[in-house]
Symmetry: C2
Subunit: 230 residues, 2 copies
């Protein structure tokens, strides 16, 4: 569930050459959009791998194969570039979650009703996966920088609140959780906090073996909590 794959799906959906809308497009505008998209993806990758201090507009431009002038045309300041990249990360995460939901409901899985056997474990594993890839690493760098960089702080906080709400809504839907039952809302939230913490634990070392055991256990616990008559 890497940023690149999600970005390609996203781009393909919006800019497919066979759609009537695309046929009316200005090729110059298309090239400009493609350049912008490459810069945003490079900014996210750069941030995930090298952190804020080493992610300058010049470094991102070089990585994207774009001239520094063209990069500055699209994003006059470093803050502009990385704020737009936060937005990009947010859209990538939403697209990845939407893809997960449609996949989970796709061919050969219709019998698995929300709450059916194995469904909770599948959804839990897929949601945790979202917090262990490059998208989460980039978002983490931005959260940490936004905690002391005023120019980023308010915008990133607002974005993160929106992403948090959307992730929660998608998790509730995918898990088939009934939030009218007391405690269910907080159970799902706590599980998403756990997924975030597992992402953090994976930052410095490959934590997969431990994570798999924790996720298997907590999928069982969450399954019990969501099925229990309260």
């Amino acid at each position: 569930m890497g940023g690149g794959a999600a970005g390609r799906r996203h781009g393909a959906r919006r800019g497919g050459a066979m759609t009537p809308r695309a046929a009316l497009r200005d090729p110059k505008q298309d090239r400009s959009r493609a350049t912008r998209q490459r810069l945003l993806e490079a900014a996210v990758a750069c941030l995930a791998e090298h952190g804020w201090a080493r992610s300058t507009v010049a470094v991102v431009a070089e990585r994207a194969g774009v001239s520094r002038g063209a990069a500055q045309h699209h994003f006059p300041t470093r803050e502009d570039l990385f704020t737009a990249a936060v937005q990009h990360v947010a859209e990538e995460r939403s697209a990845a979650l939407r893809a997960l939901l449609s996949h989970e409901r796709g061919e050969g899985r219709e019998q698995r009703e929300p709450g059916g056997p194995g469904r909770v474990a599948e959804v839990v594993e897929a949601l945790v996966e979202l917090y262990t890839g490059p998208l989460f690493r980039a978002a983490l760098q931005l959260w940490v920088v936004a905690s002391y960089e005023e120019q980023l702080g308010a915008r990133v906080a607002a974005l993160e609140a929106r992403i948090g709400r959307e992730t929660h809504r998608m998790a509730v839907e995918a898990l088939g959780a009934d939030e009218s039952v007391p405690g269910v809302r907080e159970s799902v939230q706590g599980f998403l906090d756990m997924a975030r913490g597992l992402g953090l634990a994976n930052l410095l070392t490959d934590d997969r073996a431990r994570r798999d055991r924790v996720v298997a256990q907590w999928a069982r616990i969450l399954d019990d909590v969501l099925r229990a008559p309260s």
Copy 2:
């Protein structure tokens, strides 16, 4: 459960003027130790508030009220200072956890057996609290920088692994969890991952109201899991 308070307790325990060992001490060495301690505490506070990029040796020295020369005598490089500060953060966290455990077992609470009513909720709240203060904010900055700074990476990863093991051991003890029961070990680990994720969610906004509801619900869940005959 701030760094300062834990540091003072820690310092008092080791350097109390009335102990026979202190009476044998060289006053010059004591001053040197005090300077070093001030630098470490300033480095942690600086990191928590301003992030890595703005936390230079000069900034930390000024904050500690120490000359730049004295700071460089103790810590020749920036990496030396902040690696030692990581160690300091680790000791602070251990001291805070030990204080929590002895407090929980202190006066008027003897009746609360591990696993007794209310005990799990109390321990869960106190453990989550550890991840929402300045110590966690400083550690988070270090984790994130260590993810791409080679000089810090291996040392911070080793330290974090050690702290993780110690936190887990203390949580098991405080919760009265029986790890010979299948799943109990992973339940406690997942709960600590949740606490870490809650700390992260508190980075950009004051998340206390939501966190309190999540913690109350997950304390109930963990209590059920730990009491259940497996």
